[in-house]
């Protein structure tokens, strides 16, 4: 069941940048995407998260025109493009999960070529290529062949190629996967800047932290089905009721599992190592008796830290619960799909 919450950060009066209704994609008997409906507002960064094989790339392919939906409808900036997406492709920039520019062309030629695909005249495309190479710090390697670029440089140039025609919506599929921390941070800064200048961003990523930093709203896709769309604050609120304390000690925490469980039946004790343990409870946990019990067993607690629920917890909870629910559904004879 999909829970969708609009949040209140953005105006509802704007036309949706993307409006997908019951989008479904079947490959023979397999339903890769199953009746997905969502709206991406003009000017927002919309995160699309899910485990591997959830149908994220298939959904992006349908939204950009590399795949045709089996059923459902799609509107881009208010235009129905379900049957013919060509007219909307001018407004879209696409950065795939692999840097797919031309290895035999240099950086400058790649950008100019990509601009020509959008009908940009020579003078303008050269000016734009120059501007982007400067912006992305690639001006000094503009004449180097793309094949000779580092992974980070390739990624930056691929993003530059995706925005060469100033698209209104930018699709990014795993933009920082496999690149170094400094390049990833620089790319995230560029994306935030692009969004501030009005570009709507549709982002899929495996990095929860990236989604946490960049996205206004996040959708969770599990097994081809959209299970949750919400703002980051609302998503985290859902797991806020859980309290987690991480304890660090001098050692011997493993042997304390049973005594702790007996003394604090409301707690869920997760041993991370001999010296680290997490305690999960539904209510705030009084620490003093717990520390005292450990000290009685000659274990010195060196640190007790409250763990703030993160999007990762939300992700694990939502995807985990949903996958378990689907597994249960599949095991029931009356609902088993053929």
């Amino acid at each position: 069941m999909l829970r969708q919450n609009d949040g209140n950060e953005m105006s509802d009066t704007r036309v949706a940048a993307i409006a997908a209704h019951q989008l479904t994609k079947c490959f023979h008997a397999v339903r890769a995407v199953d009746g997905v409906s969502f709206e991406v507002r003009d000017g927002e960064v919309f995160g699309f998260l899910g485990p591997n094989g959830a149908g994220k790339t298939t959904t992006i392919n349908m939204l950009t025109g590399l795949a045709r939906p089996t059923s459902g409808s799609l509107r881009i900036l208010g235009h129905d493009v379900t049957r013919n997406i060509k007219k909307a492709q001018h407004w879209m920039g696409i950065v795939p999960d692999e840097s797919n520019l031309y290895p035999e062309l240099d950086g400058w030629e790649n950008l100019c070529f990509c601009a020509s695909l959008y009908g940009i005249r020579r003078r303008e495309r050269e000016a734009r290529a120059r501007e982007l190479l400067e912006q992305f710090g690639l001006a000094s390697v503009a004449r180097r062949r793309f094949a000779a670029y580092s992974k980070g440089m390739k990624r930056k140039l691929t993003i530059a190629a995706g925005i060469i025609h100033r698209p209104r919506i930018l699709f990014l599929d795993e933009p920082t996967t496999g690149i170094d921390v400094a390049s990833a941070r620089e790319i995230r800064q560029r994306l935030a800047g692009l969004n501030q200048s009005g570009t709507t961003i549709f982002l899929t990523t495996h990095y929860i932290e990236e989604a946490e930093r960049l996205c206004h709203r996040i959708a969770f896709l599990v097994d081809g089905r959209l299970v949750r769309v919400d703002t980051l604050a609302n998503l985290v609120q859902a797991v806020q009721d859980k309290h987690t304390v991480e304890l660090s000690a001098s050692g011997g925490l493993r042997r304390m599992r049973d005594p702790l469980r007996n003394a604090f039946p409301a707690g869920d004790f997760e041993e991370l190592s001999e010296t680290r343990m997490r305690v999960h409870t539904d209510r705030p946990l009084p620490l003093a008796p717990l520390i005292r019990l450990l000290e009685e067993h000659e274990i010195q607690v060196t640190e007790a830290r409250l763990i703030r629920p993160s999007l990762e917890d939300v992700f694990l909870e939502i995807t985990g619960l949903e996958l378990a629910r689907m597994k249960n559904d599949d095991n029931r004879p009356e609902t088993k799909s053929m």
Binding site: K86, Y102, C114, L117
Partner: protein, 244 residues
Amino acid sequence: MNGCIAYWGILRKDMRSYYLKPPNISWGLIFPLAWTLMFFIRSETAVDIRSLLPGVMALSILFGTTSMLAVTVTFEKRGRSFERLLLAPISLELLMWAKTSGAVFFGAVNAFVPVVMAAFLADLSGVIWWQLIVAVTLVAISSTFLGLLIAVCVKEVFEAQTFSNFFRFPMVFLCGLFFPIDQLPGPLQPLAYLLPLTYGADLLHEAVQSTGRLPVAVNLAALVGFCLLLFLVSLHRIRQKWIR
């Protein structure tokens, strides 16, 4: 206008990336020379250069276009750079015409290499030039579209090469370039008329030596028909396989 800029951009990139590379230019020069020399060596009497011209031209086009296009498209598909073209806001028809134009041009230029060579060695005064240009263009387009069809039927570059040869070599021997069609074994004769090169070769024979066997209009109509058929089938396959 946007379409024209995109068309020219794709054509220009392909010419620079593939067709104007030194190995391909040398191929365009060496291939017709090698074929002509082969005929010289194997012939016991004096060789009539003009009689060799249609065959050498047809082979130059066929070998210059089919595998080049099949390999370049398959290569770009493998590297996913072809997706970039599919995501461009231009129609699939224009995109594929732009993508094939480079190969058509390359094939046509290859065809005129032996003509330039022959101009120094033989009298070409009786050649019907307009017919020769039309024949070369249509043979280049049909061969290129055959390469396109191969490209959309395979996944790997080596498969593209194998399939190209699978079509090309039977075509070379059945199209009437080396053996007159009426001297082929009975069951093979109808097969010859299912090949676009049969009509192209006949048109070239007619243009160079006035020895065509079929009416020019029939050859032209058949070649245009093959071009349309191959292009439309290729587009259908692309829509089915690449925009799923």
